[in-house]
């Protein structure tokens, strides 16, 4: 599937900022089933961009801008070619072993309720039980959206209704790790052709003999060819599309517009 991505991030500052340094995880990398055809990151002010990678193998762009800066727009435009692989990740660059992804973080720690939910939902063979777990999350939280959230951790979000896709993914990570299954957060896009206020987030779990397999609790299914993987991490913060610091006082307003559109199927 050919997918067009248009991801805009707008910062507005109540007072001009002297300096801005940001780390952007906004660039997908190639796998066997995902090929980046074209990709560009544009910034609307005089900024220096440096490209690199982080310890997880994510492509990183460092953004350095000198002020005064009253507003900052980051525009990502790109096209990606994907193939259906039943959620299995093939040919990805994996600098870290799966075992690392058994670690929990504050945002992905299961409390007793979440761990009990995981234990009850996940019976059976290693792959089956993860699918069951994923389906159980979808059944419990049928309305998961790509919206800006308050950044609730897994345990807190589990007690609420209507989590964001990011929160739902973190719940899946906490549950999978509580079962002893390495799991990681994925940030990226789902090409449904409509506009969202945040990128999509889902999970990948490691299954012996198969490797990393995607699970999207927002749908209860594994990601298909309509997904574009961009960055992974131990939790959502670790894979955040933008992380920034600014020198200057005042408040900040952030708006995100994401559209990923299917352009057609490659035969």
């Amino acid at each position: 599937m050919r997918i067009a991505v248009d991801h805009r991030t707008h910062y507005r500052f109540s007072e001009p900022q002297a300096r801005i340094v940001q780390m952007l995880r906004l660039t997908p990398t190639d796998t066997q089933d995902q090929t980046v055809v074209s990709w560009s990151i544009g910034v609307d002010c005089d900024a220096r961009l440096r490209h690199g990678a982080d310890g997880f193998g994510n492509a990183i762009t460092m953004l350095y801008a000198e002020g005064p800066i009253a507003a900052l727009d980051i525009t990502v435009i790109g096209e990606v070619l994907t193939m259906e692989a039943a959620g299995v990740i093939r040919g990805s660059h994996e600098p870290l072993p799966p075992l690392l992804f058994l670690r929990t973080t504050p945002a992905t720690t299961a409390d007793a309720a979440l761990a009990a939910f995981a234990a009850e939902a996940a019976a059976g063979e290693p792959l089956d039980r993860l699918h069951r777990l994923n389906a159980a999350f979808h059944a419990r939280f049928p309305d998961v959206a790509d919206v800006r959230d308050r950044g609730r951790g897994a345990a807190e979000a589990f007690g609420c209704t209507a989590p964001s896709s990011r929160e739902a993914a973190q719940m899946f990570l906490a549950a999978a790790r509580s079962l002893g299954v390495p799991a990681r957060y994925v940030s990226g896009y789902r090409s449904d052709g409509s506009a969202h206020g945040a990128p999509h987030g889902w999970a990948e779990a490691h299954v012996a003999g198969l490797g990393w397999v995607g699970f999207d609790p927002a749908t209860g299914l594994s990601p298909d060819e309509s997904y574009v993987r961009v960055a992974i991490g131990l939790d959502a913060a670790g894979a955040a599309p933008t992380a920034g610091t600014r020198s200057g006082s005042g408040a900040e307003e952030l708006d995100v517009d994401v559209i990923a559109e299917p352009l057609g199927r490659e035969e």
């Binding site: 982080d54 000198e66 610091t245």
Partner: protein, 481 residues
């Protein structure tokens, strides 16, 4: 009197009447100097430290927020050949620590070959995936190591702990020596003592040697969290004596993956940073998004190879308690030989034989939680009650992997000034080892800590510990001059 059975480094096993012959001159000095005079000199030294501001903060003690560490005037002395053997062991250990860090953040051969259980590294908070795949300038990770040693006999040294992050205490080594030269000049006539005052030069050379791209005139800085830090004196002292800038995070900016320091004359590019700040507070973009401290972009500049950071971020995995017990295997794996400096014997209760031995000898061993600290979750067999031993037996049988066991050691003593005259007190030792692109250097000296309370084995400054000067002789000692 001497702690039962402990080896006294000056008096040997014989007591004050029959000192080790190499130290006859010291015994003579002690005999010739009235106790009141020793006390007077000691007070003069402490007075000087107070004026310099070499204090430390005791957390949670608002009455005396800043104290000086008590100083003892009687030095501890190493003979030239003792030191030579010790140095070989230290060099080997620090080389292994560097090789381990290089491997663990790179190919992880040591895990692939099953030398260390992978989960002990990969699931350890101290293993920082943020710096995986980084190759620091010139391949050096642990530039400044402090290796904590204990001694039980003339040639029996054991490593108690490795410090590969930001070991402190070197300012005490230097200031103690300066005080000794001023207050006891006669000792430096009687003994040929290796100087330690070249330490700042050695450190500066080490810093310059790891500058990215082999820059011959690199800009080096010391990065401190600020004056509220308990080791601030040491930070400013080291910057001052190396003749380089002492900076705080707000003084540094990263632009275009290059680190700059703000000066009155404008921005100056920084090549080498000796940081005395924990990893968590180095760069909010890489480590702690909730932290306002640090230098945003520093890790990106480091990853791009544009700046050297001493010590490298991520080093905590090398001096972690869970890893410590594998140091003999780590040394063997990277050096191909046996460790010249042994660990304190450690039984990993995750291993069935070790567990059996531990359970059979609970009354003789110290049992510790692998991830415990501050003395919590610890059983001291020889002084434990029957109930405590029963309790630990159950805990060990339930979760053996969480425990290690060690024998109780008879730490060596050194004569120390006390209210009742000179008496033996237990000591430990932290030598400092520097690694640059030009090799490994052991500073001929170090920090001797002494437990001032009779019979106490606790040398921590927060719990009644003091310091002594540590002489390294250029020869084998001699009788009185």
């Amino acid at each position: 009197m001497a702690a039962s059975g402990a080896f006294d480094e000056i008096w040997g096993h014989g007591g004050p009447e029959a000192p080790r012959p190499e130290f006859a001159a010291l015994s003579q000095w002690i005999a010739d100097t009235p106790p009141a005079e020793l006390q007077r000199r000691q007070q003069a030294a402490e007075q000087a430290f107070r004026q310099l501001g070499i204090t430390f903060a005791v957390y949670g003690d608002s009455e005396a927020a800043e104290r000086i560490i008590p100083f003892d005037i009687v030095p501890r002395i190493f003979l030239a050949d003792e030191w030579a053997r010790l140095s070989e062991g230290l060099v080997q250990r620090v080389q292994a620590i560097n090789a381990f860090l290089e491997d663990i953040y790179g190919d992880r051969r040591i895990l692939a070959e099953g030398v260390i259980p992978p989960e002990l590294v990969l699931m350890n908070e101290q293993f920082r995936p943020e710096v995986a795949g980084v190759r620091p300038p010139h391949g050096v990770w642990a530039h400044i190591c402090g290796i904590d040693l204990v001694r039980t006999g003339p040639d029996e040294f054991f490593v108690l702990e490795d410090n590969a992050r930001t070991p402190s205490g070197v300012s005490y080594m230097l200031e103690n020596r300066e005080a000794m030269i001023r207050l006891c000049p006669e000792l430096f006539r009687d003994f040929r003592v290796a100087p330690v005052d070249s330490y700042p030069d050695m450190l500066r050379q080490t810093m310059q040697s790891v500058a990215p791209g082999g820059n011959a005139n690199p800009v080096c800085v010391v990065l401190t969290p600020g004056h509220f830090n308990s080791a601030y004196y040491e930070h400013s002292f080291l910057a001052d004596s190396m003749g380089i800038e002492l900076v705080e995070p707000a003084d540094l900016v990263v632009d275009d993956d290059i680190v700059w320091v703000r000066t009155i004359a404008g921005r100056v590019r920084v090549d080498v940073i000796y940081r005395r700040i924990d990893d968590d507070f180095l760069d909010p973009l890489a480590f702690r998004p909730d932290s306002m401290l640090g230098v945003p972009g520093l890790i990106a500049a480091y990853r791009a190879g544009n700046v050297a950071i001493l010590n490298a971020p991520g080093n905590g995995i090398a001096d972690d308690k869970a890893i410590y017990s594998y140091m003999p295997e780590i040394v063997r794996f990277y050096s191909g030989g046996e460790a010249k400096l042994p660990n304190v014997e450690t039984y990993r209760c995750r291993e069935p034989d070790a567990l059996k031995y531990t359970l059979d000898n609970l009354d003789k061993l110290v049992v510790k939680l692998v991830d415990g600290s501050g003395g919590y979750g610890m059983l001291v067999g020889p002084t434990a009650t029957r109930a405590q031993i029963t309790e630990f037996r159950a805990a060990l049988e339930a979760e053996p992997h969480r425990y290690i066991a060690q024998p109780t050691l008879a730490l060596s003593t050194v004569p120390t000034v006390t209210e009742k005259g000179l008496a033996p007190r237990h000591v430990d030792f932290r030598p400092f080892v520097l690694t640059g692109s030009d090799g490994v250097r052991v500073v001929p000296g170090g920090l001797t800590r002494v437990a001032l309370r009779e019979g106490s084995l606790v040398v921590n400054s927060s719990q009644g510990g003091g310091t002594k000067d540590s002489f390294v002789l250029l020869d084998q000692g001699a009788g009185a001059a």
